[in-house]
Subunit: 161 residues, 4 copies
């Protein structure tokens, strides 16, 4: 599988000089190692952005990377705030690939983070699902067009009939 | 889904009075909370044992619990050393259920544990797989009869053709 | 001893709604509990600020709290950037008290933090030092007028003869 | 200062092959690095034992190391169960040195450990105390003959009048 990184809370680390959480070296590979993942993975950094700062050009970069990838199993790590929008863009491509977006509400580097759990969900899901675009988070696997983020509760929820 | 706990490294905590890692209150629910799991889960403690100490009677308890459970999606947390043996027992029941066994090489309470990643894998896998018995660990989902633990390398590996 | 809190990196927690590290409930008491501190401590929150945002009025609040405190042993948790300036203000009061300032380079909540080590240094130092104003950090105890922060290296250093 | 390691809970790591906490590479230097300790320290491993397994010969090794050390500031990391007994042996040497024993109730590698706090206490204390033998733990600095471990409560307490 290929893991395309776009940034998001999951990948933020503490930058001492600035006194804040932001992007530096990605820690997704460190997380895979902690999870002792033996599934074959290729990690590719597309960008390192807060998803609130995503532009149409950024989404185009993600779309191009998905189209270009030779693997049929793709995980995209992504900020949660605009994850569903990127998912919709990818769905419109109708690729013969299984694409799973994931991220986290708390950075992996911060105590009690949900990041490792979510990455585990995504890694399993991408190997088991048919072609399509999905969001794996909160211990659930959502189809791209049946989920939205509930910002108030800080979680994703299945959207109605 | 129902999560049946049998003990194993994943659930060991540090007992100060004894100066060692052993079982006390299960921390699986704490892990689900950390993972912000919104999938409906019922946690049931069957036993709290190191899987090296499992007896046939223990495996019978697990089998009975799987047969009895009303849910079709079952996760079993289990020590890694005899996980495949319990899986084989469960497979022989030929239940119309999806049963996923998981565990970890390092207790959740100890630094750099693989526990949360594995639980994430299992939670996603049990919702996506057809009826059968599986082991979710190392970022992979194995059919029960196509996997064995490599003790030397401390990981599970797919068994040959 | 009395522990006067002013904020600083040591006490920042992750605020999900904002996606950043900032102040909410102080975690100093949680740290003392983790350290199993049995020394009698009274914790008082004076303010929760990044020390770069400290005003003269803020420093006056700290000075007043030190003067008013009935304990002779005072610890002040403080951001590192202006810690020496507040220390100088306190030294000018010439109180018959032992005042130890401490803080950290990484928030306690973030992995590999120096916070607990520094708080341990401060708790020991305040009980052993004569009246005066000190900074306890980096495993050293500095007199207030013989130390400066080296921002480039992210540590405190003894100033020359 | 010189830090003499004898083992104890503070230094135990998780050994996967055995499925338990025991000694391998010492992590005291890793802890000093995490605490960003700039005080000059020389770390010397004397032994790696649970202090319940200490023999008179072991205590002799510690005594010899303290006598031999060229530094006047010595920290000894030690299991808590027989820490006071080793301290008494060292006191009988009447060395012109400041000797501070410390340890922890929970291994540094296990969540919510008191280890880093205690090491911080010891590092500050050894630089500030006059010659003598002390135990730094629980946020307190005890003279060697005025403290005992309360096993039931898992902490050290000052002994009577």
């Amino acid at each position: 599988m290929r893991i395309l990184l776009t940034g998001g809370t999951i990948d933020k680390v503490y930058l001492e000089a600035d006194g804040k959480l932001w992007f530096k070296d990605s820690i997704i590979e460190e997380m895979l190692k902690q999870g002792r993942c033996t599934a074959e993975t290729t990690v590719e950094i597309l960008m390192q952005k807060d998803s609130l700062d995503f532009t149409d050009a950024d989404r185009q970069v993600v779309s191009d990377a998905c189209r270009r990838a030779q693997e049929e199993q793709l995980i995209i790590t992504h900020g949660t705030d605009t994850m569903t929008r990127t998912a919709a863009d990818l769905a419109s491509l109708e690729l013969a690939k299984t694409i799973v977006l994931t991220g986290s509400m708390i950075p992996h580097r911060v105590g009690s983070s949900d990041a490792l759990f979510n990455l585990g969900c995504a890694v399993a899901a991408v190997q088991l699902l048919p072609y399509g675009v999905y969001i794996a988070i909160n211990g659930e696997v959502f189809e791209w067009d049946k989920v939205e983020k509930n910002r108030k509760l800080g979680r994703f929820e299945r959207t109605g009939a």
